[in-house]
């Protein structure tokens, strides 16, 4: 199944399984040609869909209220960059409400966005804000990288009573993966070892998992055995899986599409530095989007993001004194 089809499948199942699920927004599949599939789903369930105006602050906030009132909204912010419009509602309201009320009120909603470098998006359409959201307690964050994971994780997200950020990437849409008929909800906080290896642990999420797997395949040919750890959810985070893998390999490369400074990679590196210092046989490396706004021009764009070539090069440098 194509990842894009899995997105639609996850939405369809959510709608069919729980009548409280309503969709707000229409760009789940971005502006890709796949997006007509979302349109078809909407035609099938017109009463379960709300097309908001270009007013992210207003409609994301409305999603919060609807969740409080008893719906389970799945709200689409389209491009991740537009979440900045709604930061006040996502981070100041949704994330805090359960806590501020001392547990009285829950906000069972899912907020979807497509993050990252998508090709020509330039500085205002290429963000990966999940690191910033991660720094705000109260939000669950899922970062699927495989169609089957996506469906299982979304089921859990919809069932969760917490606001959950569903992080997608348009470049995932054209990837394919096997999807069994009977997918169970995937519990949060359980990483998936997408490839086992003994020399180097690569931590990656979302689209970077695909690139890391591709790099791992090529590195295997050079005799470097790479273990790829896909956390699947950033909050909660399966720290144990990372530490176990590092204990085995003694080497860590974090591949992250967020900007490097205070990115997801910073936190992962810090956790390992704090808790597995003795296991490390070489310095941790972080490969992230360079700390510049994402440029428009294609060659520059490729230069700033973590690519397969860069992953390979970084992996070699981490294990060179093995």
């Amino acid at each position: 199944m194509l990842y894009a089809e899995a997105v639609v499948e996850a939405l369809r199942r959510s709608i069919e399984d729980d009548e409280r699920v309503h969709l707000m927004g229409q760009y789940f599949l971005g502006l890709t040609p796949h997006r007509t599939m979302v349109g078809d789903l909407y035609k099938q369930y017109p009463d379960r869909v709300y097309f908001p105006p270009i007013a992210e602050l207003g409609y994301v906030g409305a999603g919060i209220g609807a969740a409080i009132a008893g719906l389970r909204p799945i709200v689409d912010c389209a491009t991740a960059s537009f979440t900045f419009q709604a930061f006040a509602q996502i981070l100041n309201e949704a994330a805090n409400i359960h806590y501020m009320s001392g547990g009285q009120t829950s906000v069972p909603m899912v907020i979807h966005y497509n993050h990252g470098v998508r090709g020509g998006g330039a500085a205002q359409h290429s963000h990966s804000p999940q690191a910033m959201m991660w720094n705000t307690p109260g939000l669950e964050i899922v970062t699927p990288s495989h169609p089957a994971d996506l469906i299982g994780l979304v089921q859990t997200a919809v069932a969760s009573d917490n606001p959950t950020i569903w992080v997608d990437h348009v470049r995932l849409f054209d990837t394919e993966g096997e999807v069994p008929d009977d997918i169970e909800p995937i519990p949060f906080g359980r990483a998936s070892i997408r490839r086992e290896g003994s020399d180097l642990t690569v931590f990656a999420s979302s689209w970077m998992v695909c690139r890391s797997l591709e790099a791992a395949e090529l590195l295997a040919a050079e005799g470097i055995s790479v273990e790829v750890v896909d956390p699947r959810t950033l909050v909660p985070l399966d720290e144990e899986a990372i530490l176990q893998s590092v204990a085995k390999t003694g080497h860590l490369l974090v591949v992250d599409e967020c900007h490097r400074r205070c990115g997801v990679g910073s936190e992962i590196a810090a956790i390992v530095a704090e808790h597995a210092h003795g296991d490390l046989r070489a310095p941790i490396r972080r490969l992230a989007t360079l700390d510049v706004p994402v440029p428009f021009s294609a060659p520059m764009e490729e230069f700033v993001e973590p690519t397969v070539d860069k992953i390979i090069e970084a992996a070699r440098s981490v294990v060179e004194n093995r």
Partner: protein, 335 residues
């Protein structure tokens, strides 16, 4: 120039007045600024410089931030006051998508010389909407500079530098510092953005910290000194850019690192510093670095709960002792 002993907030007021006087392009924008704002930082400025330069705005953070960006693009040097750091969320798009990027997107054709004064921090039972420390968000956005003075002198020096800088600078004020006193030179020179200060030289453990936590860490290092543990205390002063050289130099001597900040630990400034140092100075670290920060929870309102939220002197002491636990051991990988 005469050195005076003033309060942190007075240093801010003094610099605002001095810069308004010095440069006609400087403007002040914010809610109720003509009344001094909630803490009096802008008191009296409207009377001296008039409502065309000290401008009260509606409660429209998004528009006001964007408006300041536009004014900065057009030759002004606006100083925007966001009453509480939490309300930057309402202006994130203008800050992240506009202020931070115009220089880059236009390859240097445009510049955005503006200062964003943001007040925040834990204290006073203000609760989850008025107490956050959000510096790691800003650090994560290329194109923004971020400063967070802990002393009265730096409050003045860094604000002067921020206003005169040609890029957007976020100036983080901790309200718990407003009434602390220190020496200050009115009309004094700017403090260079991006330079940390070693506020206490030492040899055993490097403690890197910022803003109000510097005070906490000073107390902790005094306690530890009594036990014969010699802390080197680095006040970052600038969060973006981070003064890596100063930190690395210190850690190469002490071989131990603790990072202390008031923001949430997860994904915070400490993560960046520990990650950076574990690469830069991997071979010298004698024990794992330790981060001390707030738990992964919003800021509780209860003054009782609140006192356990921000790191305490004891937390810092404990973290330092952790790094020394295995003082005699040599790490397995040390060559």
């Amino acid at each position: 120039m005469v050195t005076e002993t003033v309060r942190y907030i007075d240093a801010i007021s003094s610099v605002l007045r001095h810069e308004l006087d010095r440069d006609d392009d400087v403007l002040i924008l914010g809610e109720d600024v003509s009344y001094g704002g909630p803490f009096g930082a802008t008191a009296g400025l409207s009377e001296s410089f008039g409502p065309r330069r000290v401008i009260d705005t509606p409660i429209s953070e998004g528009a006001v931030m964007g408006l300041a960006v536009g004014a900065a693009l057009s030759g002004c040097r606006p100083v925007v006051e966001i009453m509480f750091a939490d309300f930057v969320t309402l202006a994130m798009d203008q800050l992240v998508n506009h202020a931070a990027k115009f220089r880059y997107m236009t390859d240097g054709k445009l510049s955005v010389p503006m200062t964003i004064r943001v007040q925040g921090g834990v204290g006073g039972g203000y609760g989850a909407h008025h107490s956050q420390s959000l510096e790691s968000w800003f650090l994560h956005v290329p194109g923004l500079k971020v400063v967070a003075p802990s002393s009265v002198a730096d409050a003045g020096g860094l604000l002067t530098a921020a206003i005169r800088d040609d890029d957007p600078v976020i100036y983080l004020e901790h309200r718990g510092l407003y009434w602390t006193k220190g020496s200050f030179v009115p009309g004094g020179s700017p403090t260079r953005i991006g330079e940390a200060a070693v506020v206490r030289p030492g040899s055993d453990v490097t403690v890197v910290t910022v803003s109000r936590m510097v005070k906490t860490a000073i107390t902790a290092s005094e306690k530890l000194a009594a036990e014969g543990i010699d802390i080197e205390l680095v006040d970052l002063r600038s969060v973006a850019p981070i003064d890596w050289d100063t930190i690395e130099d210190s850690v190469r001597r002490t071989r131990r690192l603790v990072v202390v900040h008031e923001a949430v630990t997860t994904g915070g400034l400490g993560a960046e510093i520990v990650a950076g140092l574990s690469t830069r100075a991997f071979e010298v670290l004698a024990s794992p670095a330790v981060r001390v920060g707030a738990p992964s929870a919003p800021v509780p309102a209860s003054p009782f709960l609140e006192q356990f939220y921000a790191p305490s002197v004891e937390d810092v002491v404990e973290a330092v002792l952790m790094t020394l636990d295995d003082r005699e051991e040599r790490p397995a990988h040390a060559s």
